[in-house]
Symmetry: C2
Subunit: 519 residues, 2 copies
């Protein structure tokens, strides 16, 4: 059939056919919306200058609408943010951090990586001139650490992965060889499975996973391959199978197979906030900063938003528009006086937000590269910091460098959010020391971002339960008279910038249709 | 014990201890050799201005020796080479190719990637100012293709890997649950293995690998996750287990776990030849190009090398020195008049070289990115071209781009080397079409490098058999009176630049010791 389509319709038609057969796939992004014919003078008020809000403004202005954005903070970008030396970070509770990083260094405390299938975001990065570079997620040479496994010592990903794969293959090959799986596996398939286990698992000819060149060519040698007379390598010892299985470290192998964590990932050159800046370049003239919205009212003709103008002593002001795109994070929105119907009100109240804390730690030098040969990627631990992510830029350079010293989610995030900034750093160093013995010696300065303490979002991102999704999701997305919500919370790609992009496009496409119908 | 060392000796001592316990490892590179005290006036003649030769010259001059390099080609770098528009490639048999790539585009027809553990090469890249960028090897969104599997259609790596992992885990979990593996697995371990299979394999709570959100969150959805009202994803169908096992495509999952193919890999910014150029910047004043060596003689006092000076009509000339570091590839060296002992002579003749052909194909646009969302990485096929490797640079850019359209080794390389350059391109296009339906439409121009037809190497690189290694390796590396060999062939890291580096360092370190002993 494909050949036929190819002959009849050319390669474009063939590509369409392959897509519909499931051969090509990104996220649910079909290109930028071609909205035209917005009624002149029709005004849309956008609340929030994050990616969702700025994108809505950009596309709606292009479509012919008059657009205004009100933003709570003194900067555009929302959760798209990078922290650099000289920046000040204030949080609820009063703690203020002054970032001390060396010039050129930064941490991305919010979004920090872009999967290849987030085609909406990638499209606008290109359209707005944001340069991208690979973000290294999987690193075979990084460390895996569990307090109760391998004597509490970290093990190399490659050592662990080789042994886990080898022992798994050995066990299954044994079961097949001993005809213990005759029921589920046909006689015809048996030989294929055994061959697969041997090749994929790195087994010897007799079906065993054991110490030798086959296993060492995956996990590494005790004495590495060299040059000249003494170049012969010496195979490395395997871990004990029971340790490998009991450790639970296989979870990090599975982690890298998740659709959202697969290769190839990207990050903007120079910091994640280059995306926010790129969006801002398009719509900065539409944005009023320092507007603390207190009420969103509507009737059959208008939306009226009341806000405190914090640039002018908190003076109470109002903005009017025909329609409103509201991207205010739900923990904030749920506390405002919002005139919408019961279903949307219930939806706004129904979605809990994740608490998350990230640590950006600067060290005197790239000891992870120079001592450990770890270039980018992530070491994982079962301690609260959960991971140490090494920078995917500036490889091999001298001087101070910043890594992500902790990414707390769930209970660990609440614990860390309850600490002072200094305590967070101290805990990050103490835990990181279990992976890098020289962690404390090399440390220079650090910063922490406790998302639950950011007054403009009060949390990291939406965490829909399946039950809440069933009950409230459609209502959250539906246009309520003249108001529509947008943001990662109004998507199935929660906690990702792509969710904000696709939600925004969907919301304004529907709003445009509604506005045209009313015309 | 580690804590004790940490307390007593500080973190440097701890790091040393961790290294000796096998926790840190690169290749067998312990830093550049600190050679000093070379006797003034002692001359070393280096044959070949590839990486091994140039490095030997660089370090020996630093140690105090007088050094001269004779090079066969009209350029330094050896197999470290990149091809760009305007370059001319001549091969044995008379074929001449003029490369037509657009400005800025290139292919690396020799070495093309650098593993993280090739610490010798990485050291000199930094020392000589060669900038590196990540080379993407594993790409979950690339294609896997086998003519006799899945109806001959390519499948996404992520789809295949998810299903292979899932079915493997399901089979082993089943065997364990049914107590069919009681002998090899202790009662205590059983639960751990089952838990591992469920988590790592992406099984449902009842131990099955099946269509649903768990499997689709690895392999991708039929309708991807989206934003707004219609954002709900639809799970994708699984492949049939028998197809997955029978296809043999698991070999490409294993491929990425090989020590030499693991993440993070690098490539020089701007082409692999930036390394050769970096080395050349250090020693260009020592190199005489266009010297076709015909004889290498020695007595108790001197080495005498006879060569045709092709810059001067092939005039016969001689160069004398106290010692000689010979990096001439063995298929060439074995045809010269070389005055060495029987064991070294036998060794020189004993090592077959791989034949290899690479295709560099330029296309009008990055359709693999724009249509298929493949950014870097490799698609694999069981056709002779074996793979299509997408560029790990220039992501998201417009205009023509070059990919590696085939990497033939073994019998396929002999077949391709036997074709005209035009035929090689034609076969590359025909085979690539099985993976990219629009391959031919998008094609612009191409170049092929048949390594067996390069007169200065007559093959790609050394392919030691285990038997030959046992019999001849020590003799190949041993200093023969005043002559020592160096190059990837004199290493356990054959076919990699790191082998040339480490072999060269080992050879000159021994030669220096010998020269000092004779002083």
């Amino acid at each position: 059939m494909l050949t036929r389509i190819g002959i009849l319709g050319g390669s474009a038609a063939l590509y369409q056919a392959m897509t519909s057969l499931g051969h090509a796939a990104g996220t649910d992004f079909a290109g930028p919306p071609a909205l035209t014919g917005g009624k002149p003078g029709t005004k849309v008020l956008v609340l929030g200058a994050g990616l969702a809000g700025m994108l809505a403004a950009y596309e709606l202005r292009k479509a012919g609408y008059q657009v205004q954005i009100l933003e709570f903070q003194n900067r555009a970008g929302g959760r798209n943010i990078s922290l650099r030396g000289g920046d000040t970070l204030s949080e609820l509770g009063g703690a203020v951090q002054k970032v001390q990083f060396a010039p050129g260094n930064y941490i991305n405390p919010g979004p920090w990586r872009i999967p290849y299938h987030h085609q909406g975001l990638l499209h606008y990065c290109k359209a707005f001139g944001v340069q991208l570079e690979p973000f290294v997620e999987l690193n075979h040479n990084s460390w895996l650490h569990a307090g109760n496994a391998f004597g509490g010592k970290p093990v190399r990903y490659r050592d662990y992965a080789a042994d886990f794969t080898g022992f798994t293959a050995e066990l299954l090959a044994k079961a097949i060889d001993q005809h213990k799986l005759d029921d589920p596996v046909s006689a015809d398939e048996r030989a294929h499975v055994v061959a697969a286990m041997r090749g994929w698992g790195g087994l010897t000819a007799d079906g065993a996973y054991r110490k030798g060149s086959i296993s060492s060519l995956r996990r590494g040698f005790a004495k590495p391959q060299g040059g000249g007379v003494d170049g012969a390598p010496v195979p490395s010892d395997l871990f004990a199978r029971d340790d490998v299985m009991r450790s639970g470290l296989w979870q990090w192998m599975a982690f890298h197979e998740r659709l959202d964590m697969q290769t190839t990932m990207f990050q903007p050159v120079g910091g994640m906030d280059q995306i926010g800046k790129g969006f801002n370049r398009q719509v900065h003239d539409l944005i009023t900063l320092n507007c603390k919205v207190t009420a969103i009212h509507q009737d059959d003709r208008h939306v009226t938003v009341t806000y405190n103008d914090m640039s002018h002593g908190g003076a109470v002001k109002q903005a009017e528009a025909d329609y409103c795109v509201c991207t205010i994070p739900l923990p904030v929105l749920s506390q405002l006086d919002v005139q919408v119907g019961g279903p949307l009100k219930a939806a706004i109240a129904a979605v809990p937000y994740a608490s998350s804390v990230k640590l950006g730690l600067e060290f005197k030098r790239r000891f992870w590269e120079q001592d450990d040969q770890i270039y980018g990627g992530i070491s994982f631990t079962d301690q609260p910091i959960s991971q140490i992510s090494y920078p995917s830029h500036g490889y091999f350079s001298d001087g101070p460098a910043v890594l992500l010293g902790g990414y707390m989610f769930g209970p660990a995030a609440y614990d860390f959010a309850g600490m002072t900034p200094a305590e967070r750093i101290e805990h990050g160093l103490a835990q990181g020391q279990a992976i890098h013995a020289n962690y404390r010696d090399e440390f220079r300065t650090g910063v922490s971002m406790a998302w639950s303490r950011m007054p403009w979002t009060l949390g990291c991102c939406s965490m829909w339960s399946e039950q809440a999704r069933k009950t409230h999701y459609k209502a959250l997305c539906a246009i309520d008279n003249r108001i529509v919500l947008a943001g990662e919370h109004a998507s199935y790609i929660g906690c990702w910038q792509e969710g904000a992009i696709l939600s925004s496009l969907d919301a304004i496409t529907r709003l445009h249709k509604r506005a045209q119908g009313a015309a």
